[in-house]
């Protein structure tokens, strides 16, 4: 259902509040000055939401910083163009020539900004109240009591409960979603004309993301604020935007209304971008569900039974263990050869800890059987041999390769460690792996920093493949990549599965990606599996309310499916930290037939 025009005072509707003409931004780097935004022109109307969409390096964030006159100093500068901020009576201020003191008056008061990372954009040593009232006092000069009243009102506006007592809290006492709401409260407390939101929900869980987006939309409707929303997520664009600008390499590729961009994209790049976006329901048909279920236990690549991981928290004067984080609380699943099992859930649900336990990075209790051999019964050397069959691809391709080694050496390293082949054979095998994952063997001599994110993830995949493992754990392996790159890496993973028959444990928070790649899906919540079944069972017929909420919360990259209300959590996700001796209610999974299990009675 498409949303009708917002209720903006009719006299002002359609009038531009911010006009950018021919904006160019340059950043001086090691190898001279580089233009990161070139000749960008746009106008933002009163009460409008304009989305700037693009992949990393497209110049969208630089545009936002240029408007705020907050370009990184001394490297960044505005090389040309004008940025005009228009008043309600029609008079305009030229921001590019404004001195710092007058710009400070505009920042926060007339143009406010919220950033991606709510964890780092609040000052950790000041209370929420202090940070809120500070900006109100600075810009309006009202008394302290008046500022406090306004701060409480602002917190209430972003639907934070017990607003008065929250003022005394510090950022670390709030969850990520709450912090981002505080940021929005700070940004909107002064009722700015323009709000710039730079990837405001990217760091948040999907159920929280929905809430924050809805909140932004409601507040905008009430105040008639104009919003520039910067995002890489076409789902968020479809959900929020009136108009869209698609940027690439610092240039505007296409501009249009949201409906037009999604229905009839003109530029080839926009079409590619939209085609690469994973959508729920577009996953290719996979093997019929239940096909692998008949296989005997011995044929399974991995069988996990009652896996438990707990971390001790020490506290008190003597540093005794007084609490435990129950990260993974007795989960069981199995993976067949050639199968992809997806493990989904939100941050803190224990999915990454499960991966680490399987890869042998954290101690666990429970039974893990790989290729028919149970790990706890094996000696050290045997265990090392079995571990060869389980390899891992990490989330951040920038962090998971040793920056001081050549990529050829890195890919050859697993072979070297397990003494496979002669030096020449290893070299040939690494060269073949490079070709297989879509790189050239000449690139073996380079260092990791000389590659892009997608290429690095290919190197990590080549490295994981080097030992011909039976199972590859992909822990959020495509989350850090741009959508177009993401799609190509996912294709590569699928190809490799067909070719080598490798099984994947695919860990992700992104329901759309999961729907595209998985054969079976397990949904985790607070360290336990609440639902497991084939992809079709879980997505078309979710039995657990949490699964339903996860699926509903995903923004759909189609403006005609825009929602008016997002599914809202009744409460924050509880913590998995428990006192010693506190019992954990164990979920009982009910069989819904055909290998579909879900917890009931929660």
């Amino acid at each position: 259902m498409s949303q009708s025009l917002r209720e903006v005072p009719s006299a002002l509707a359609g009038e531009a509040v911010l006009e950018i003409a021919g904006l160019s931004v340059s950043v001086r780097g090691e190898d001279g000055e580089r233009e990161v935004v070139s000749g960008l022109s746009l106008s933002l109307k009163r009460g409008e939401t304009l989305c700037i969409a693009g992949e990393s390096g497209s110049g969208k964030s630089m545009t936002a910083l240029a408007i705020m006159q907050l370009l990184p100093q001394p490297a960044g500068r505005i090389a040309g163009g004008t940025i005009r901020l228009r008043d309600e009576d029609g008079s305009a201020v030229e921001l590019t020539v404004l001195d710092e003191r007058r710009m400070r008056d505009i920042r926060g008061d007339r143009i406010a900004m919220i950033f991606q990372e709510p964890m780092t954009s609040l000052n950790p040593v000041l209370s929420i109240g202090r940070q809120l009232t500070e900006s109100i006092e600075a810009h309006t000069g009202v008394s302290q009591t008046e500022a406090k009243l306004r701060a409480v009102a602002a917190l209430k506006a972003v639907r934070i409960s017990e607003a008065e007592s929250r003022l005394k809290q510090f950022p670390h006492e709030l969850s990520g979603g709450m912090r981002q709401r505080v940021m929005i409260a700070m940004a909107l407390a002064l009722e700015p004309d323009v709000l710039i939101a730079d990837e405001p929900t990217t760091a948040l869980d999907v159920t929280v993301q929905g809430e924050v987006l809805e909140l932004l939309r409601d507040l905008q409707r009430q105040h008639g604020t104009s919003v520039i929303l910067i995002t890489h997520d076409m789902g968020v664009v479809a959900e929020m935007a009136d108009r869209v600008i698609v940027m690439r390499n610092g240039r505007m590729v296409e501009e249009g209304t949201t409906a037009a961009i999604f229905a009839r994209p003109q530029a080839a790049y926009t079409r590619e971008l939209l085609a690469a976006v994973p959508r729920i329901g577009s996953g290719a048909r996979r093997r019929a569900s239940g096909e692998s279920d008949g296989a005997a236990m011995q044929d399974k690549v991995a069988v996990v039974k009652d896996l438990q991981v707990r971390f001790d928290l020490r506290g008190g004067f003597f540093g005794r263990v007084n609490r435990r984080v129950h990260a993974v609380e007795g989960i069981s699943f199995s993976i067949a050869p050639n199968e992809t099992l997806a493990l989904v859930g939100e941050s803190g649900c224990g999915k990454s800890t499960t991966a680490k336990a399987l890869a042998g990075l954290v101690p666990y209790s429970g039974r893990v059987t790989i290729g028919g051999r149970e790990l706890s019964r094996l000696g050290r050397d045997e265990r090392k041999a079995v571990r060869r069959d389980v390899q891992m691809v990490f989330q951040d391709p920038y962090a998971s390769l040793d920056p001081r080694m050549r990529v050829g050496e890195l890919v050859a390293e697993p072979l070297l460690i397990h003494s496979i082949g002669s030096k020449e054979e290893r070299r040939e095998r690494v060269a073949a792996l490079f070709e297989r994952v879509g790189l050239s063997s000449e690139q073996m001599e380079l260092y990791p920093h000389e590659f892009s994110g997608g290429q690095r993830q290919r190197i990590c995949i080549a490295r994981a493949l080097a030992l011909r493992p039976k199972l590859i754990i992909a822990d959020e392996s495509v989350s850090a990549l741009d959508v177009s790159v993401q799609a190509r890496v996912l294709d590569l993973l699928k190809e490799l599965q067909r070719e080598f028959g490798v099984a994947y444990l695919f860990i992700s928070h992104d329901m759309a990606v999961v729907e595209n790649v998985s054969d079976r899906v397990a949904v985790m919540y607070l360290g336990q599996i609440v639902e497991i079944g084939s992809r079709d069972q879980v997505f078309s017929n979710p039995r657990h309310p949490y699964t339903r909420r996860l699926i509903e919360a995903v923004p759909v990259p189609d403006p005609s499916l825009r929602r008016t209300r997002f599914a809202r959590l009744e409460r924050e996700i509880p913590s998995a930290t428990r006192r010693i001796g506190e019992s954990v209610p164990k979920l009982v999974l009910k069989d819904f037939g055909g290998g579909h299990f879900a917890a009931v009675g929660d």
Partner: protein, 288 residues
């Protein structure tokens, strides 16, 4: 073509003017130390009759004694040349051993943590809290003073700071994802430490190594001054300064020249260390 990560380090070092300057200074000091007996006609310990004025004051630099003479009428240039032997041994050997102990302790404690790590770091803290000079005096009192004993004493006192710094860096490195990635491919602890952690510590080790040279040379001087270092009349840069420092006003050259020598040596190692750090870091490749 085999992969050679260190290929051409020497060649690239020679391309940097500042590193070249550093190498040049070190070469001069080294040559001076080795060739001292042939470079000067004097004996370093010979108190010359014409080395003092009639009143018994040392001579300022002149045509006969290029850098002047000291309080006992000995040729300062000769003493600095011979002193270079002592100071180089102290600065390189003592400092090297200290660096080795510090790195070993820091890396072990930082990577393995647990009770080994705690025990090692508590011991390091204890050593740090103990006045270094007092410790050196105790150690020096136990052993018969000689150049090598002094070097060892200095090493035993100086490793603590290095250990602390290396410990902190190792523990944050061990948390990095690529170390986890190494574990998942089955890399053993020694392999991770030598191939993946040590190369990242190199810049720190180099910086501490170069900083340590001046510290150790001066510590040796202090020990000499207290009578437990290199025994007189053997010259070292440190004890030349200490012997003469009270006459700084009257005979400034006696402190200036050995001081300048220490400074130049420390600076030279610093320049080389700086260049090495950049050259060994592949992410800096191609940048001047």
């Amino acid at each position: 073509m085999p992969v050679k990560p260190r290929a051409g380090v020497w060649r690239r070092l020679l391309k940097r003017p500042l590193a070249l300057l550093g190498l040049f200074i070190v070469a001069i000091v080294l040559a001076g130390a080795i060739l001292a007996p042939w470079l000067t006609g004097y004996d370093p310990n010979e108190q010359m009759f014409d080395g003092l004025t009639l009143e018994g004051s040392p001579l300022p630099p002149n045509a006969k004694f290029w850098l002047g003479t000291d309080l006992l009428g000995r040729d300062l240039l000769t003493r600095i040349l011979f002193g270079a032997r002592t100071s180089l041994i102290i600065g390189i050997v003592a400092n090297g051993v200290a660096l080795l102990i510090g790195t070993l302790v820091g890396v072990t404690a930082g990577y393995f943590r647990g009770w080994i790590g705690s025990a090692l770091m508590r011991f390091t803290d204890l050593m740090m809290a103990f006045p270094a000079l007092l410790l050196a005096i105790c150690l020096a009192a136990v052993f018969e003073p000689s150049l090598w004993i002094v070097a060892m004493v200095i090493a035993l006192v100086n490793w603590v700071q290095t250990a602390r710094v290396i410990y902190t860096e190792t523990s944050s490195l061990s948390e990095r994802e690529f170390i986890d990635a190494e574990r998942t491919i089955g890399a053993s602890a020694p392999r991770i430490l030598l191939r993946h952690i040590l190369p990242h510590l190199l810049p720190t080790i180099i910086v501490w190594g170069t900083l340590g040279i001046s510290t150790t040379v001066l510590l040796e001087a202090t020990l000499s001054y207290l009578g437990i270092g290199v025994q007189p009349p053997t010259a070292s840069w440190g004890n030349i300064i200490f012997e003469n420092q009270t006459y700084f006003q009257a005979a400034p050259w006696l402190v200036f020249f050995p001081g300048a020598a220490i400074l130049a040596l420390a600076l030279a190692f610093n320049l080389i260390g700086d260049a090495l750090r950049d050259i060994l870091d592949p992410t800096q490749r191609g940048r001047a």
